[in-house]
């Protein structure tokens, strides 16, 4: 074994990236591999709730206590990813008083600050709440941007020497003498480099220890070593509204059920969710009834949702796990706790541990526990520092400065940029060159886009998750071609992105934006979709791009009225034009 152990982490979601950061900060050599973008799996597909713990205060108090503890930590170390909106559990007349009281007691038992407010007070705080809401419990729920959080963790891990490879699915586990000794990955060739990748081909990455943090995909990794990991993936829909109908998190105060939460997130509000077990985390039906259920149920809490515009819907797959002997029928009964499966103890397969279950809010704590476990394997005793050291972007930063003036940006663009960038605002936004807005819906400027390209290479979906460009009302209608232009001729890590790379990334982003919009195609958003289609197909002719298709016979077309050799003249032909034999 090398003097510094090399740990390979599978999975670039919050858990994996949290582990990579933690271990790198403890001075281990770390490589993380992710099959898609960072947050490609469940992390990028959640409602963005920073739990106060209130949701688990009755059913699962251990989780609730962890939530409130981590809620406080994240407010501290990830302030630029968190918006402390506050939250409420609202009670409708048909919801029971008994459960309301249980929720209140549960919050108090778990040390979750909880305040009972009247229906009137609740409506004063949130004017669009239904008139017949009886009362509510106010709790410190918040909103958190999972993309920004993961990117910041990745940046920190890299600063501590970790290697992060995205778009590198694990194709096999390397097993020698009954022990896991590494992985084989395939570096996908996409448009240009993917993060700091080695493009194309396969690579064997040997490691002293492997951590399987692939969430809903953990079972598929287990299969490569013939070990059973009984992840029970469960899908849930999230429907994004065009504006924030509410500025605090609204939960329904009843035991459990679908469609019981609205989370304000950036410029939008996200409605959630459903809980349905699926076979394959990559391939499951995304169904109309789920979207309709969100609107039709949550309008009981916020009536204006009935007529409001949704901009897209997306589905996430929870990596639920329970020990095989529990056997819950209904996925909503499966615990949200996490499990550390040491395959040496469990399956007589040394060299690898899997982490399954759990939830986003407690990602750091899970990472800490598994990092402790990994260190234990090597007899290393080093303190975990992730709860104390702020993430890049959340370092000491005065938010009182006049960014607008400093960066020459209009309000609210300056404000939005600084919210996203936190303490990195200086380094990113200071430029002597013109810095026009690229994405108007989300207020993203060229400097921010260029910074994201510098981090993530030519993958515009990776640029999107870093900046929110193309994630607003128009869903990229006005800015996708601009993003492609920002990519063109940009040099990152010694590679210059040519037109072909930019075109491929452009197509990928167009298709990705379309995918989620399909679940929002009525009313205003259908009108927007038609406008986008008209702009992209009619005015840009991107649906028949001659660069992608058959060569065009240019000579067969009109060369202009005043060109030599052209039949006809500059005068308007009153009969509609003569036929000129082409």
């Amino acid at each position: 074994m090398a003097s510094t152990p090399h740990v390979l982490v599978i999975g670039g979601g919050s858990t994996g990236i949290g582990i990579a950061r933690d271990l790198a900060m403890r001075d281990l050599d770390v490589t993380l591999v992710e099959q898609g973008n960072l947050t490609h799996g469940t992390t990028g597909r959640m409602h963005g709730l920073l739990h106060s713990g209130g949701r688990y205060a009755v059913s699962d108090q251990a989780s609730a206590k962890e939530c409130i503890q981590e809620n406080r930590v994240l407010r501290d170390i990830a302030s630029h990813c968190v918006e402390m909106t506050g939250g409420m559990f609202v009670k409708r007349p048909e919801d029971t008083e008994e459960y309301f009281q249980k929720k209140l007691e549960g919050c108090r038992e778990c040390d979750i600050p909880a305040e009972v407010i009247s229906g009137e007070e609740a409506r004063k705080r949130e004017p669009h709440l239904a008139k017949d809401i009886d009362k509510a419990i106010a709790v410190p729920d918040g909103a958190i941007d999972p993309f920004r959080l993961v990117v910041a963790n990745a940046a920190s891990a890299e600063q501590h020497g970790a290697r992060i490879e995205t778009h590198s699915p694990v194709t096999d586990l390397l097993i020698e003498d009954g022990e896991v000794v590494g992985v084989e990955v395939e570096h996908k060739s996409g448009p240009g480099i993917r993060v700091h990748g080695t493009e194309g081909g396969t690579e064997e990455i040997r490691a002293d220890y492997v951590v399987n943090a692939s969430g809903a995909w953990a079972g598929q990794i287990g299969d490569m070593a013939d070990v059973d990991i009984e992840v029970r993936p469960s899908k849930g829909v999230m429907t994004i509204m065009n504006i924030r109908q509410v500025d605090t998190v609204i939960n329904r105060c009843r035991p459990k059920g679908d469609a019981d939460i609205v989370v304000p997130h950036e410029t939008t509000a996200i409605l959630g969710t459903t809980d349905e077990e699926v076979e394959d985390p990559e391939d499951y039906p995304e169904e109309q009834w789920e979207v309709d259920l969100m609107i039709d149920t949550l309008k009981e809490l916020v009536p204006m949702l009935d007529e409001a515009r949704t901009i897209r819907s997306f589905w996430g797959v929870r990596p639920l796990y329970e020990p095989p002997d529990v056997g819950s029928e209904d996925p909503t009964d499966i615990t949200r706790d996490f499990f550390l499966l040491d395959h040496e103890e469990r399956d007589d397969l040394p060299g690898m541990t899997s982490i399954v279950g759990g939830k986003f809010t407690t990602y750091r704590l899970m990472a800490e526990k598994i990092s402790d476990h990994v260190c234990e394997q090597f007899g290393i005793e080093r303190e975990c520092r992730t709860a104390d050291e702020p993430l890049p972007g959340s370092e000491d930063f005065s938010v009182l400065r006049d960014y607008m003036e400093e960066f020459g940006l209009r309000s609210p663009i300056g404000r939005r940029s600084v919210e996203r960038l936190g303490s990195r605002a200086d380094e990113v936004l200071k430029t002597d060159d013109p810095n026009p807005v690229i994405c108007e819906c989300e207020g993203v400027t060229r400097a921010e886009v260029q910074d994201a390209i510098g981090q993530s290479g030519s993958d515009l979906n990776a640029v999107r998750i870093r900046t929110r460009a193309s994630m607003g009302n128009c869903q990229g209608g006005m800015c996708v071609h601009r993003l492609a232009s920002e990519l063109h001729d940009t040099r990152v890590d010694g590679e210059t992105f040519d037109e072909g790379v930019a075109r491929e990334a452009w197509d990928e982003l167009l298709q990705e934006r379309w995918k989620g919009q399909r679940h929002a195609l009525w009313g205003e958003q259908l009108s927007q979709a038609m406008l986008n289609y008209a702009l992209h197909a009619t005015t840009q002719n991107r649906d028949n791009d001659p660069a992608d298709g058959e060569p065009v016979d240019f000579a067969a077309f009109d060369t202009g009225a005043d060109q030599p050799g052209e039949s006809g003249g500059a005068d308007v032909a009153a009969d509609g034009g003569e036929r000129d034999g082409y």
Binding site: R482, H488, G500, R518, L535, T538, N544, V552
Partner: protein
């Protein structure tokens, strides 16, 4: 214009209805074409329009047909393909001759456009870096034809991210254009805000307005020429973003051409599109010249009538103003212009509730692929040969209501590149019949 006393069933009060022979609802290309065509037939015409028309979002090019519904193309001759179109296509309904007559009317009315000398489509560069087939193009875009084999220089401005000239040039090269093309990016002279509006650029260039360059006040156009001159190698034509002048685009272009010694053209634009606005302005002038009346800013919200439309009501600051006519033309646009609307269960035409065919399952309204065969692109009313919208059983909804432009169904203008041509052809046809019937 004459006034008559009408009683509104809805308000129950007597109001003076504003009367005309033909009332056109909608001020886009279809509405304007139909109002102009009706007025040219001698009818007393009034046009009412609500919002800014979608011309402001369009490139200003006049496409007739660039691709067949099966995706064949780019077509060299749009008229050749008309007989092969599906029966429900608006071009089949009005017929090839009507399309030709309508384009002749356009050519007669809009003297700032070219392409009428031939049936053959032109190919023009787009701001997305492709080329697209089109039937008519503004004077200001003419030097940019992609079927012209002279070498080309494109120049963009740093603060205008919609037109990245080096990217467009590289993309055009990949598209196989028959000339050398280079792209350069410069800073527009002066200290314009990064988010300056296109009209600000246009006015500065038109007035040669003062900008500060290295501490000295200069005319914006002169200063731009100074920055462009050193970029020219041996190209005989230069393409710039579509901001070359507002009211006097020809003057700005001529001045630039004289000083640069090359031809100058605008690359058709993104919204807000000055070429689209110039076309809209020209068409309203033309309507005025043929004696049509128009008013804008207020929506038509309701109507009276059973088999015939008797009166429509315009909502104006909480008052309902009645408008009566012998004949009506519905040119309110499609999904973008809100002439066709939808909710989770239905697709509908909001003013007259004309029948719009659609699947009950909204997941049938689209294709999985971003540029797939989208049923929603064809949403609209289905008309009879006189362009009267038909109800679910195939009878005209009203004997004196005709539809034109994107409110019609049965075609996908975005895929076909047929939007302008269908608006002009059906507008011309509906306006002409309405005028004849009214007299």
């Amino acid at each position: 214009m004459s006034l008559a006393v009408q009683t509104s069933r809805l308000t129950g009060v007597s109001e003076m209805a504003i009367e005309s022979d033909v009332l056109v609802i909608g001020g886009g290309l279809a509405g304007l074409s139909s109002a102009i065509s009706a007025a040219r037939e001698g009818a007393d015409v009034r046009l009412v329009t609500y919002k800014q028309s979608t011309l402001r979002q369009a490139s200003g090019l006049i496409d007739v047909l660039g691709y067949t519904p099966n995706g064949e193309g780019p077509l060299t001759d749009p008229y050749d393909a008309i007989p092969e179109l599906p029966e429900e296509h608006p071009y089949r309904i009005v017929g090839e001759d009507t399309v030709r007559d309508a384009m002749s009317m356009f050519d007669a009315v809009v003297d700032t456009y070219r392409g009428g000398h031939t049936d053959t489509n032109a190919l023009l560069p787009t701001y997305g870096g492709t080329v697209k087939p089109t039937a008519r193009y503004p004077d200001g875009a003419a030097a940019g034809l992609a079927s012209d084999d002279r070498d080309l220089l494109l120049v963009g401005f740093e603060a205008m991210p919609d037109f990245d000239a080096p990217h467009v040039a590289a993309h055009l090269e990949a598209a196989g254009v028959p000339f050398d093309v280079r792209g350069e990016t410069i800073q527009f002279p002066g200290d314009l805000m990064d988010d300056a509006k296109v009209t600000r650029y246009a006015k500065l260039l038109e007035n040669n307005g003062p900008v500060e360059v290295r501490g000295r006040e200069r005319g914006a156009r002169d200063a731009l020429v100074e920055r462009l001159n050193p970029l020219i190698e041996n190209e005989q034509r230069i393409g710039l973003p579509a901001v070359l002048g507002d009211a006097d685009a020809a003057g700005v272009r001529a001045a630039l051409e004289a000083e640069l010694g090359t031809e100058v053209f605008e690359v058709p634009a993104t919204p807000p599109s000055l070429p689209g606005v110039r076309l809209e302005d020209r068409l309203f002038e033309a309507l005025d010249e043929v004696g049509g009346n128009f008013e804008s800013g207020n929506p038509v919200v309701s109507f009276d009538g059973q088999d015939r439309v008797e009166t429509v009501y315009v909502d104006k600051q909480d008052a309902r103003i009645p408008f009566s006519a012998e004949q009506y033309v519905l040119a309110t646009g499609g999904l973008v212009g809100k002439g066709v609307e939808s909710d989770r269960e239905h697709v509908y035409e909001p003013i007259f509730d004309c029948h719009v065919a659609h699947s009950e399952d909204r997941y049938d309204w689209f294709d999985e692929d971003v540029f797939g065969d989208h049923p929603f692109a064809g949403f609209g009313v289905d008309p009879d040969p006189e362009l009267r919208p038909l109800d679910g059983s195939g009878s005209p909804e009203f004997e004196n209501l005709r539809a034109a432009g994107s409110v019609l169904g049965g075609y996908d203008f975005a895929a076909e590149k047929s939007g302008s041509g269908v608006s002009i052809a059906t507008g011309y046809h509906a306006g002409r019949i309405a005028a004849q019937e009214a007299q």
